[in-house]
Amino acid sequence: MRAADLTTAFVLIAGGVLVIWDSLRIGIGWGTDGPKSGFFPFWLGVIMVGACLVIAAKAFRSADRTPFIRPGAIEPVLKVLLPATAFVLATPWLGLYVATTLYTAAYMRWIGRHSWLSVIVVSVTVSAVTFYVFEIWFLVPMPKGPLETYLGY
């Protein structure tokens, strides 16, 4: 926890410095008709850097050596995160609906070890219902791919 706490604090300090730097660039003083655009973010950045320095100092002195994540728990977390990332990567190419079908099917098969029949039924139903609700019912367009083009949507 100590290492993670320190890392987060330093990432936030770096972010704060970036905010301060950008605010100084656009001006933090008084413009022609009120405070300039950088005024508000500048002070946010300053306070954040200050607060994070104190958090980092506290974390540095702490004796909490428990790991950020239990060794056995890394796998289940990655098992969610990696397929989800693959799903997001695939969406612009395949369209959201095909990506959802493949994602649900793959996840059910490899992680859940469901039978192929239930895999196919569930994954196709999920996408079909999503498609109906969003494209037909609420008229909210989702990213589409070659399959939807082929079907004429």
């Binding site: 950008d22 405070p35 946010l44 506290k58 969610v80 997001v88 994602y103």
Partner: protein
């Protein structure tokens, strides 16, 4: 004077179309409340883009019903599965789950739903009475007063939120900074875009909510390991009736919990501490405190009543002042802005049909809600028996759909994923997420209020202290900000022991 307004509201809320929306909202909300990883704030955020084309009154009725449904759903998982769906249902598990294990699940659920109903109704009645008065006062507010109220809102997270005060402060600042990214509409300057065109439109709070609460929550649940071994979920009408006959015995607990809930919930981040406080009060005043934790029905009544009174109360500052009292209220407030309404006291003057339709729908929504959950508990509980290998991709793809539909931009789905990881890390390191979301929603409003105040005073921050109302509020806010620094010193002075770590709102 409030009465005919309320009547007007009921005419709107009781239209068949709006009643149907309330039913849909409660059904969806209960499902969302039962599912791990999809809480009230999240559900409202995902559904929000679908309401853009609806009339605002119908839209807000749908979303508030969803909110009530999510509150009810949290009770189901706490009692039957010992999984608190929401942080404010944690206290409900103390006695609810033992009751369900002893075969009294029906009694526990009936007590929980009835208490929720009583708590929410109490809050709605107080909203009906006080909202117009508060709005009347707030109409006289200028920019300094509004900025002072914003300060008070955020100071109460720092001073009263529990956990690390510095980390609460940092969360607030991150929210404000993210809100400032992109085009500054007042001056037309680009801020913190660093040359990336994608950053010009800034970060949408809906995407942030979906990522932080949705994806982040799934990662956390997976790490803790899911095990849904639930008790039976049958409710017989006879059990409901018999439980109702015993409940009036606890009128003192009901009343006390209502007041605790409303008082805590009116301030931001109040529902969770309210439910814990109410539970411990009930235990302290009980004639048989040793039965608490073993399955005492009073231990279900107290936290549920308080949590729902608080949940209702958090809507009061949202409709009167434009300051949300909870992350869910914050998302709804963002919705108001998107529907083209100006949140704040002017709503009562300009859109009475909206405000009173909303208030009346809180009555109808709760009545429909309590009937629906009592009737369909087994159905809702069955959702948790769906294997997690189906639930996980389902929740992730619903979140992705919600994030994309906000602006129709692919990058928002990436932001959602990144916010998910941030939410996971922050939750583990005790950085609270609720103030971050509130700051992200209120960022522009707060900055404009500060700007206008400074223009009024020619650049002097003292204007916040010089005007009587804003001065008083600012002093209270500064006191709350200083509270975490004062408390240890005060305790040492009096020779008191260090306090136990207080529970944290999400």
């Amino acid at each position: 004077m409030g009465f005919e307004n309320l009547l007007l509201g009921f005419q709107i809320a009781l239209q068949p179309h709006n009643l149907l929306l309330a039913v849909i909202g409660i059904a969806l909300g209960t499902i969302i409340g039962v599912l791990p990883g999809l809480g009230g704030a999240n559900g409202v955020a995902i559904l929000l883009p679908l309401t853009f084309s609806m009339p605002p009154t119908s839209a807000i009725i749908l979303l508030t019903s969803l909110y009530w449904g999510a509150l009810f759903g949290g009770a189901i998982t706490s009692i039957l599965f010992n999984i608190p769906g929401e942080p404010w249902s944690v206290a409900t598990t103390f006695d609810g789950f033992p009751m369900a294990r002893n075969g009294q699940g029906g009694q526990a659920l009936t007590a929980a739903f009835t208490s929720s109903f009583v708590g929410a109704l109490f809050a709605v009645v107080l909203i009906t009475l006080f909202a117009p008065l508060l709005a009347e006062v707030a109409l006289k507010f200028g920019p300094p007063e509004f900025f002072a109220i914003q300060l008070l809102t955020f100071s109460s997270f720092v001073g009263l939120g529990g956990g690390s005060a510095l980390k609460s402060l940092v969360s607030i600042l991150i929210g404000f900074i993210l809100a400032a990214v992109g085009l500054d509409i007042v001056t037309g300057t680009l801020r913190m875009t660093f040359g990336f065109t994608d950053l010009m439109k800034g970060f949408d709070f809906i995407v942030a909510v979906i990522g932080l609460f949705g994806i982040g929550e799934i990662l956390l649940t997976m790490e803790e390991g899911l095990s849904f071994r639930g008790a039976s979920a049958k409710i017989k009408p006879r059990v409901v009736w018999e439980t109702w006959r015993t409940l009036p015995r606890y009128w003192r607990t009901f009343l006390r919990s209502c007041f605790i809930g409303f008082w805590m919930g009116f301030k931001p981040g109040g529902a969770t501490p309210a439910s814990f406080m109410s539970y411990s009060f009930a235990k302290r005043f009980s004639k048989h405190p040793e039965s608490f934790g073993q399955g005492d029905i009073e231990g279900v009544v107290a936290p549920e009543t308080a949590a729902h009174a608080a949940g209702g109360a958090s809507l009061l500052p949202m409709i009167t002042l434009g300051i949300p009292g909870s992350p869910t209220a914050a998302v709804m407030l963002g919705g108001l802005i998107i529907w083209g309404l100006q949140p704040g006291p002017m709503l009562f003057k300009e859109k009475p049909e909206f405000v009173w339709g909303l208030i009346a729908s809180m009555y109808t929504g709760n009545v429909i809600g309590v009937i629906m959950v009592l009737a369909f508990v087994p159905l809702f509980a069955a959702i948790l028996r769906v294997p997690f290998a189906i639930l996980t991709p389902l929740i992730v793809s619903v979140c992705a759909v919600g994030a994309y539909s906000v602006n129709g931009r692919m990058i928002d789905i990436w932001y959602m994923l990144i916010f998910g990881v941030i939410g996971y890390v922050f939750k583990k390191l005790d950085y609270p997420l609720a103030p971050l979301v509130l700051a992200l929603v209120l960022g522009d409003l707060a900055e404009n209020a500060l700007r206008q105040s400074l223009i009024m005073s020619q650049g002097s921050l003292l204007i916040l202290l010089e005007r009587p109302i804003s001065g008083a509020i600012t002093i209270v806010a500064l006191f709350f900000f200083a509270l975490p620094a004062i408390t240890p010193w005060w305790r040492r002075l009096r020779g008191l022991p260090a306090p136990a770590v207080s529970p944290r709102e999400t």
